[in-house]
């Protein structure tokens, strides 16, 4: 059990002249959750599919449960669970038939009926796959990934197309997997998801790792850059507030009615903000002191522009 669940180093893969993955490296420790975070087209799915043995790498080394997925696929697959992006099932297959088929491929499967029940699919067991909603298809795909009691689970954008309740459920599931010693490698472009689930986050962009660490390590990198956020009436004159604040603090209104104070946020700063609000005769709502969110880190690293 000493080998890590996944060990990737210097991974390279190109499609024609396009470099999809360019020197990515990370390690998923046993029983931990690692999130590959990145914008669309960053190389997340390519990386995960190389680990699953679906794609061949052009360079670098990959060890999954101590095996090379490119050559030991048949030995590896019984030990892993895979949730591919966008699911995958016969259009006409009924939910219970599909899960029964995948369960038959495992030595000690979970009870399909129980799994469908906890995933909220108990009412849809006889529904053909093509008539499921996107979120239901995702949940069936997740069930297929978990049914065989794998040691390691690959989840490629597990909550894409899910409503908030279903997403919450998936988060609980991932936490339960981790608690039971299952290793998880997932991809997401939801910061909140990475922050909530992952022991380690690897931010990738243009096929390269731009940052990695625990969510805490990543968000603490700018420790002196704390912030205080609050909501109030839009268009308030903040000049007076700025004079009341300690040196080095900045005040801005990035969105109408959303105010942001950055700098070293101490009790004095909080007090200055609240008394200024009192002077202005407004109530500061949702007043919040915080570190940078993972989203801030992510946007700082990958840019705020929309990719074409």
């Amino acid at each position: 059990m000493s080998v890590p669940a996944v060990e990737v180093s210097d991974l390279a893969k190109s499609y024609g002249s396009t470099l999809a993955v360019d020197g990515i490296g990370f390690t998923v420790e046993r029983g931990s959750v690692l999130a590959l975070l990145g914008p669309n087209g960053a190389g997340k799915t390519t990386s995960i599919e190389i680990c699953e043995g679906f794609l061949r790498r052009d360079g670098g080394s990959v060890r999954v449960l101590g095996l090379d997925p490119a050559t030991d696929g048949e030995k590896l697959r019984p030990r892993i669970g895979v949730m591919p992006q966008g699911g995958g099932a016969y259009p006409g297959v009924r939910v219970d038939e599909m899960l029964t088929l995948v369960a038959a491929c495992a030595a000690n499967p979970l009870d399909p009926a129980w799994l469908l029940d906890i995933l909220g699919l108990a009412g849809a067991t006889r529904t053909p796959y093509k008539r499921l909603s996107g979120g239901q298809q995702q949940r069936l795909s997740l069930a297929c990934a978990l049914i065989g009691r794998p040691e390691l689970v690959f989840l490629d954008e597990p909550t894409a197309g899910m409503d908030p309740q279903a997403r919450r459920l998936v988060w609980e599931l991932v936490a339960a997997l981790r608690a039971d010693g299952v290793s998880v490698l997932l991809t997401t472009h939801l910061m909140e998801e990475a922050e909530a689930l992952a022991d380690q986050v690897v931010i990738i962009d243009h096929g390269r790792v731009v940052a990695q660490g625990s969510p805490r390590e990543l968000t603490e990198q700018g420790e002196d850059e704390q912030h205080l956020k609050f909501r109030a009436k839009s268009g308030l004159d903040t000049t007076l507030l700025l004079t009341a604040l300690p040196q080095g603090c900045r005040v801005s209104e990035p969105m109408a009615g959303h105010y942001l104070v950055t700098g070293t946020v101490d009790p004095q700063v909080v007090s200055a903000v609240t008394s200024w609000c009192a002077q202005q005769g407004v109530l500061a709502q949702e007043l919040q002191v915080g570190r940078r969110s993972l989203e801030d880190v992510f946007l700082d690293l990958t840019g705020r522009e929309l990719r074409s």
Binding site: E52, F54, E74, R77, P78, R79, I80, V82, P84, G86, G87, G88, A89, Y90, P91, G92, V93, E97, M98, T100, L101, V102, A103, A104, C105, A106, A107, N108, P109, L110, I118, S141, C144, L146, G148, R149, P150, E151, W171, E172, L173, A175, A176, L177, A179, D180, G181, V182
Partner: protein, 259 residues
């Protein structure tokens, strides 16, 4: 937060299922999906049935009497080709499109089982087709030669495997829409000019030589020899079917893509 799941629920216990169970579950699922698909039933059951009745009753094409005896082996060959080749190719093309192959390839199902399950499913469907066609033929007065039945079974199995391999070759390599078009065109051409409806012997000499080498003609000729004449089919029939099947299978292992 994890209160919903008792500790130990997901404790790893990985491993592959028993091969026979995997094979049978896979084959059963595939067969059920085929029988539930309206277009597939049209192709595999209704068209052969209509041709069996039509060609037996109506004297459109010259055939030795009793007509039903001459028609039935040809319709058997058509049924095998419809299921194992056209049906399999189209199903595989779209299964790839919908990520089914990738889904299954991500399980413990070994690659050989992925193919074996489909072939077994096709065989199951072919048996159902032939039983239905044989019963209909019997109602029309069909009197097969009992001594040819063993050879019929062997030819049907070999034909299903050969056409199945060709179906996998086509369905596993091209885009779903292209597969759909090609599989239907090939089906139509082989039906009319591939030695099924019109026997290779009644074609012009040059064309007949080529047509005799086709799997459709070989299967039709073999089944006719067995069921009408009650004789052992010529060895070349088996060689042609095995050649097409083996060649296609070999090529398919190189060209078949999961997506």
């Amino acid at each position: 937060m994890t209160a919903r799941f008792e500790a130990g629920t997901f404790t790893p216990a990985p491993g592959a299922g028993k091969p026979l169970r995997m094979l049978l579950t896979h084959a059963r699922t595939e067969a059920m999906l085929t029988l539930r698909n309206g277009e597939q039933v049209l192709l595999t059951v209704l068209i052969p049935l209509a041709l069996l009745v039509g060609l037996s009753v109506l004297k459109i094409i010259d055939m030795p009497e009793p007509r039903v005896d001459s028609v039935t082996p040809r319709i058997f060959a058509l049924a095998v080709m419809s299921s194992a080749f056209t049906g399999q190719a189209i199903a595989l093309g779209f299964d790839r499109r919908y990520g089914v192959l990738k889904r299954l390839a991500a399980t413990a199902l070994p690659r050989w089982l992925l193919v074996a399950g489909r072939v077994l499913a096709a065989l199951g469907v072919v048996v159902l087709q032939l039983v239905l066609l044989a019963l209909t033929a019997a109602l029309l007065g069909w009197s097969p030669s009992p001594s040819g039945l063993v050879w019929t079974v062997l030819l049907v199995v070999l034909g299903t495997v050969a056409f199945g391999a060709l179906g996998v070759l086509l369905g596993g390599a091209l885009k779903a829409e292209v597969v759909l078009a090609l599989a239907n065109i090939v089906w139509f051409v082989l039906l009319l000019a591939g030695g099924i409806i019109v026997a290779a012997d009644s074609l012009p000499e040059g064309m007949a030589t080529v047509v005799r080498l086709l799997p459709s003609a070989a299967l039709t000729e073999g089944l006719t020899t067995a069921l009408v004449d009650g004789r052992v089919p010529d060895w070349s029939v088996f060689a042609i079917l095995a050649g097409w099947g083996g060649g296609a299978a070999l090529l398919a292992t190189r060209t078949t893509k999961l997506v």
